[in-house]
């Protein structure tokens, strides 16, 4: 017989780490709350008949968030045999609130007091035997990060699942509440599973709307229950939900007094608190964040990453692969067109992208370290203060943090935002933050056009944040996004030394996806680009053309090029590269690899001015137009994978099209303004495009500064009109 164990606990209590150890899985472990949105399952190691289900982190069983709904529905509808409650022992008081509620359900519960190593290190003491007795459930001490006690807890939970005994929680509410709950239980006794009767009765007492809907009680029964609740409320002089909450906390207070002893600390500040005094300081927080991200992008794109990428491009792809392969193919008598396909098309395209892998690995490594030590959770907190002023909350920044690796999981992470309007806005703006796939574009432009200038890569990141802020202001003023951002409550995990396993797993996953894409989508796209750039219609026939200018791709790209001319890159090659970026953002560089031959050692040669590809690039880009090209490709519609994620998360074609159109319009406007005003500043003459750019500046200023849409004001004026008529 199969035993089902549900892992439940507060966000960031270490459930995913526990799940990975117990099942041998390699689920992503993030050091901020809300990493697990969907439930996950795996088999207990060495016990094929024991299924472990990891539920999203929750603070309570009240349906205030999507995670709470998922977790509660699973526990009630899927009926696990036992609940393994992961309790963060270093924050035991708050964690016990969920434990008390889980015990009310009526299922067997084993509580794993996790992070006991931290408790001991802090000099605190928890009397687990007494706590177990008072709660009415078994308690096992664990330290997930060291793997201590976890298998014992899981085995004990599996054993408990096999017993028929239904546990009786020790916590009882005050007499009036108990009487009310009992009477409600009597009313609904025929309609719910007897095992869950008390839990349903308590939820009805709390006036839980979802439970009311689920039970579908008729009007008479509902009125009877409401009457019981009102009587109790009158007697205790409070509303039902507050009564229940307060009594649970009173019980937890008694548990704390009887079972927990805290070590007195100087100033009562932990090391994390002391660091946070500086890192989250009202004045210093933003400059520190800017400096940290500057260093991250500077090191990964300009210094260490650049050295490794130069090696990959110059030596690996340039000398070893391209040079030797060309010679070998010629030596064995391969046809010229096939050599061109392999060397210029495939190696040129795929190599141009893979050459940037070292820079991406270093970026992913640094972001993973920042996340692992706990800094990224602080960034969400810091950004909440900024974002709130522009209509978004810090909760929106978590998808953006995730999106700095790949926009797809970033967009999917937006589902933790309860407010529909905020969620839509987060989905729209998440892909403005440069994902890993955009790093090759940034690195290529920074290296080839700006000679490795230190400011290009950090500017690209901060341009993404600026785009989010500007979009937040603009969209929030429309009636479709108006309203106060939802309150953002997030627990800041204590700082700790990075755990190598988590960091390596994160870097490996992100890098692997990049290599996979290069070996599949980028390879196919490179072949397609090579084909259409090598063949053209000559005298009505499809023939090999020596000069790409006569190719099919040049003709097709030439149709699009005028669209980009006002942005400074009005020739067919950048136009084709931009469109190919929709397949995957790396393909912008892949397309350059094929069309300009910038793979291999070309980048170095471009910088030295000794490669004929330089003439080709120089003919298409000035520093200003290259910056405009970079901005457009960073801000315009994301790749098809991310568009697919937007479609799934929006669940609405209209909103998906709006998001894509907004991306395009925003990117086009910003690039046009930057390029045209840049031209004006450099002394170029006034043109119709300059006029369009100035007009766009005026429109942008109006959108940023005009009065926001106010639903209350509109309703009041509508009511006044009705009244006067």
């Amino acid at each position: 017989m199969e035993t089902k164990i549900a892992l439940a606990g507060n966000p960031n209590s270490g459930k995913t780490t526990v799940f990975n150890i117990l099942t041998g899985s390699k689920q992503y472990v993030g050091n901020w709350p809300g990493v697990t949105v969907e439930k996950k399952e795996g088999r207990l190691r060495g016990f094929d008949n024991v299924l472990i289900q990891d539920l999203p982190g929750i603070y309570s069983l009240s349906p205030y968030s999507l995670e709470e709904v998922i977790a509660r529905n699973y526990i009630i509808n899927e009926r696990p045999d036992v609940i393994l409650n992961i309790v963060d022992a270093s924050n035991i008081e708050r964690n016990l609130y969920l434990t008390v509620q889980l015990l009310e359900i009526g299922l067997p519960v084993v509580a794993a007091l996790n992070m006991m190593d931290v408790v001991r290190k802090n000099g605190d003491f928890i009397n687990t035997a007494r706590l177990s007795e008072m709660l009415g459930c078994e308690i096992i001490e664990t330290a997930a990060i060291r793997g201590e006690g976890l298998m014992t807890a899981a085995r004990r939970a599996a054993e408990l699942a096999g017993t028929e005994k239904t546990p009786v929680p020790r916590h009882r509410f005050s007499d009036p509440v108990e009487q009310a709950v009992t009477r409600i239980g009597e009313i609904i006794s025929g309609t719910v599973d007897p095992q869950y009767l008390r839990w349903f009765a308590i939820k009805l007492f709390e006036r839980d709307e979802k439970v009311r809907e689920e039970l579908g009680l008729d009007a008479n029964l509902s009125a009877g229950i409401e009457n019981i609740i009102r009587n109790c409320e009158q007697e205790l002089d409070d509303d039902a939900e507050s009564i229940i909450t307060n009594e649970r906390y009173e019980f937890i207070g008694r548990l704390m007094a009887a079972c927990v002893r805290r070590e007195e600390r100087k100033n009562n500040l932990t090391l994390s608190d002391k660091i946070d005094r500086i890192v989250t300081n009202r004045v210093l927080a933003l400059p520190i964040f800017a400096a940290v991200m500057f260093v991250v992008y500077y090191i990964s794109v300009t210094t260490a990453g650049s050295l490794l990428t130069d090696f990959a491009n110059d030596v690996l792809f340039g000398e070893w692969i391209m040079g030797n392969l060309s010679e070998w193919l010629a030596a064995i008598g391969t046809a010229g067109w096939l050599t061109s396909l392999i060397v210029d098309g495939i190696i040129g395209g795929v190599g141009a992208v893979l050459g940037f892998l070292p820079q991406m690995v270093i970026l992913f490594l640094m972001l993973a370290i920042l996340e692992e030590i706990g800094y990224m959770a602080r960034v969400a907190f810091i950004m909440d203060r900024i974002f709130r002023k522009f209509g978004l909350s810090g909760k929106s920044f978590i998808p953006m943090l995730i999106g700095s690796g790949c926009s797809v999981p970033g967009i999917m992470a937006s589902r933790t935002i309860e407010n529909e309007r905020d969620r839509r806005m987060t989905i729209i703006t998440t892909s403005f933050i440069p994902c890993g796939a955009k790093i090759p574009i940034i690195a290529l432009i920074a290296g080839a056009i700006f000679k490795g200038a230190w400011w290009v890569a950090p500017t690209a990141y901060f341009a993404g944040i600026a785009a989010v802020v500007i979009s937040g202001i603009i969209l929030k003023k429309t009636k479709y996004f108006a309203g106060q951002p939802a309150p953002f409550v997030m627990e800041l995990p204590p700082y700790h030394l990075p755990y190598a396993g988590n960091i390596l797993r994160s870097v490996k996953e992100r890098s692997r996806s990049f290599v996979r894409k290069a070996g599949t989508v980028i390879l196919l796209a490179s072949i397609v680009i090579w084909f259409f750039s090598s063949f053209g219609m000559v005298s009505g026939r499809l023939l090999w053309v020596e000069d790409m200018e006569f190719s099919i791709l040049a003709a097709a790209g030439g149709l699009l090029a005028p669209l980009f001319a006002p942005l400074g890159f009005g020739s067919w090659q950048p136009a084709v590269a931009t469109v190919m970026g929709l397949v995957a953002k790396e393909e912008v560089v892949g397309a350059f690899g094929v069309l300009f031959g910038v793979a291999g050692d070309a980048l170095a040669l471009v910088e030295e001015g000794a490669y004929e590809g330089l003439a080709a690039i120089a003919a298409h880009f000035t520093p200003l137009s290259a910056f405009s090209f970079l901005l457009f490709n960073l801000l315009c519609a994301p790749c098809f994978a991310a568009i697919g994620a937007i479609r799934r998360e929006m669940n609405n074609a209209k909103w998906t099209w709006f998001a894509i159109s907004y991306h395009f319009a925003f990117a086009y406007s910003i690039s046009l303004i930057v390029y045209q005003l840049g031209l004006l500043a450099s002394g170029a003459g006034f043109s119709p495009a300059s006029a369009a750019a100035l007009l766009l500046v005026a429109v942008l200023a109006y959108l940023l500064l005009h009065r926001p849409y106010n639903e209350t004001r509109r309703l009041k004026s509508a009511a006044a009109e009705i009244h006067s008529s």
Binding site: T16, Q27, Y28, G333, T334, P409, R512, A645
Partner: protein, 57 residues
């Protein structure tokens, strides 16, 4: 015919290898498309906390 094959052996063999690789990629792409995972981030979906359970199965 034999002369043609002898003269173009390298081209034919490499073309066939290349075609095989492309066919495998296309097959994988079609397979992914049918399973609905074509347009994902190409990370490991089975280990991604954002992948719905039903998609993992």
């Amino acid at each position: 015919m034999l002369t043609f094959l002898q003269q173009n052996l390298a081209t034919i063999v490499i073309s066939l290898i290349l075609l095989g690789i492309v066919a495998l990629i296309v097959r994988k792409t079609v397979k992914d498309s049918c399973s609905g995972s074509l347009w994902n981030c190409r990370c490991s979906c089975s280990e991604c906390p954002y992948t719905p359970l039903e998609n993992k199965k």
